[in-house]
Amino acid sequence: MADHARHGEGAGRDAAPAAGQDTIELRAFMGLAELFRTRGWPVPLPVRVHPGTTGPELLRQLDIAPEQVEVVFVNGKAVSPDLAVMSGGDRVALAPPGVPGPYRVLLGFRKM
C-alpha cells in the first residue's frame, strides 16, 4: 500500500505544491487517474520518497503494475519508468500506454 498522506484538495484547481522535503507531488493520467480515484487518492498525491527513488521503486511502493505505465514525467520531462529518478520536492506524473499523436516521439516517450 502506498505511503502517502490522506489529504488533498481533490478536484478543481491545483493547490499549492504538495511536495515537501521528503515528498513528491504525484499526478496520474488516463486510466491511471481512474485508478487513483478508485483508491480514493487525491490529485496531486503527496508521496514520501527517499532521495534517488527510481521509477520501479515508486511503482512498487504504489502497488501499480509496470505494464500500466509507459512514461514517468519528472519535473515535466518524460522518461521511461526504468530510467526515472526522483527525490523529495519533485513534481512527478505517470502516463499509461495510449497517449495519442506523434507526441510519443516528440516528447521523448519512444525511442526512434
Binding site: 518524460a78 516528440l106 516528447l107
Partner: protein, 575 residues
Amino acid sequence: MAKFIRIDMGTRTAEIGACPEKYAGLAGRGLTSMFIADEVKPTCHPLGKYNKLVFAPGFLTGTSAVNSGRISCGAKSPLTGGIKESNSGGSFSQKMARLDIKALVFEGLPADGKYAVVKVDKDGVTFDEAPAEIVGAGNYDAIKVLQDKYGPKVGVALIGPAGEMKLSAANISFADPEGNIRSAGRGGLGAVMGSKGIKAVIIDDAGASAVPIARPEEFKSAAKRFANALTTHPVTGQGLPKYGTNVLVNILNEAGGLPTENFRRGRNEWANNIGGETMAATIEERGGKTTHGCHAGCVIRCSQHYVDKQGKYITSGFEYETIWALGADAAIDDLDAIAYADREYDEVGIDSIETSVAVAVAMDAGVIPWGDAKAALDLIRQIRQGTPLGRILGCGAAAVGQMYGLTRVPVVKNQAIPAYDPRAVKGVGLTYATTPMGADHTAGYAVATNILRVGGFVDPLGKEGQVELSRNLQIATAAVDSTGMCLFIAFAILDIPDGFNALVDMINARYDLSLTGDDVTALGKTILKAELDFNRRAGFTSAHDRLPEFFEEPCPPHNTVWDFTDEEIDSVLAF
C-alpha cells in the same frame, strides 16, 4: 473508368470526364495539391475567378478498409495565401468513392450572387437554388433541411454563415452518419466555397456499385491485419476511444507545453478541469456518449457526444485543440462553456482552432477579460451576427492582432499556431514554421519508420534530431493524407510494423500495384515539393518560414526559448 467532374459555377454546368492520366495514380491530398499546383494561378485572389476548389477521396476510401473515409479539400487559402489541403470525416468521401468519382472540381464565380445546392448522383450533376431557410442559418438546421429534401442518407458538404460572409477562417462542414458535423477546418476553404456561390453539395450514392478491388482476397487479408493493428494498439484501441484527443491536455500541461494565456506559459493550475479524464467522467455521469466514429468503418471512434446537465446533446468531435485554445490559451476554466462555443463554431461554420486562438488574442488586447466565458461566447456569436468585430474574429488570430496593434500574435503564414508550445515541443515548432500549410500540427503527424534514423529519444526541449524528425513527419503525413486514412492510424503503423505493411498491401490489392514503403514515402516528398513550389510561385520565401519573435521569450516552467537558426529551419524541407 474513374470520373473527374468539373463544375462551372458561372454557367452552372458540369463536365463529367475520365480522370486525366496524370491524376490517375493520385488521391486525397496528393490529388488536391497536385491539381491546385497545376491549375490555380498562384498569385490569384483566393476568392476570385482563378481559384478552384477540389474535393477528393483517398486511395482506400469506399473500401472495407477501416478508418479510410476522409475527404481532402484543396484550394488556394484565403487565410494563408498559400496552397491548402484540409481534410475531414463524415459520409461524403465514401459516397464519392462508390460513385467512382476521383475528384469534384468547382470553378468560376456565380453570375447572380445567389447560392446554389449542387447535387451529384449516379446520373450526373444538377443545380438547385439553395432553400431560403438555410441561407444564414446554423449548420445543424441546414443539414436537417437538406436531408429532408434530398434524402436522409445523402452526404452533405456545406458552408455556414461564416462561409457566406467569406471570412478567412470559414470552414467546410460535412454531415456525419448521424447528421452531426465534421469539418475541413483550417485555412478558410469555406470562404472559397462561398465565393463560388455554393451553399451545399449533396452526394447521393444510391444505385452505385461497390468499389472495385483488383485482388479481393489479398485485400481482405491485408484489411484484417490493418484493423488488427489498430484495435490492439493502446492508443487507438484504448486511449482515444475512452478519452478522445482531449486526453492531451494533462499530458501537454505536464510536459510544460500547454500554451496558456496567449502563449505566456506552458503549464497552468486548472488543466485537469478541462482535460480528457474530466470530460469522459462528465459525459458518463450525464449519460452522453464517450465514444463515436466520424464515419462508417471507423474503429478508433475518438469522437463523442458531449451533453449538458440534462443529458441533451451539445456537440461532438470535441477536440483537444479547441479545448486547449479556449480552456488554456484563453483561460476559460469551464468545459461546458467551451462545449457551447464549439457548438457555435459548428453552427456558424468556422475553424475552431483559428477562432479560439483569435479569442485569446482578443483577450490579450483587452477586448474582453481573460477567462470570461460569457464574454467569449458573446464575441463568438457576433460572427453569425456579422458585426464588424465578429467579422474580424472570423478572419482569424492575425486579423485580431492587427486590428488591435499586438505583436504577440501566434501565427505562421497568418494561420494560428495550435496547442503545442514550440519552445517546449521543439520538433512541432519546426513543422509550424516550414509546412506549406501555415502553422498546422497535423502537417507532421505520421512517422515513416523506413526513413527515420534519429536513433534515440528526442529531447523535446533540445534541438538535436528535431530537423530530421520534422522532415520525416511531414513526408509521411503527406503520404498518409493521400490514402483517405485518418491520421490517427499513425500510432499503430509506427509501433506495429505489419500495420504499415498492411496499409501498403491494401493499396496494392485495390489497384493491382506493387508499391513498396519507399514508394509511399516518395509520394509524400512529391506532394510536399509541389506544395512548396506553388507557395514559391505565390510569392512565399524562406522569410515566411519563421515563428513570431515573441517565442524568443522563455516559456515557463522549462524557460526554454525558440532558438533554431534560419539555416536549421531552412534545412527541414530541403530534400
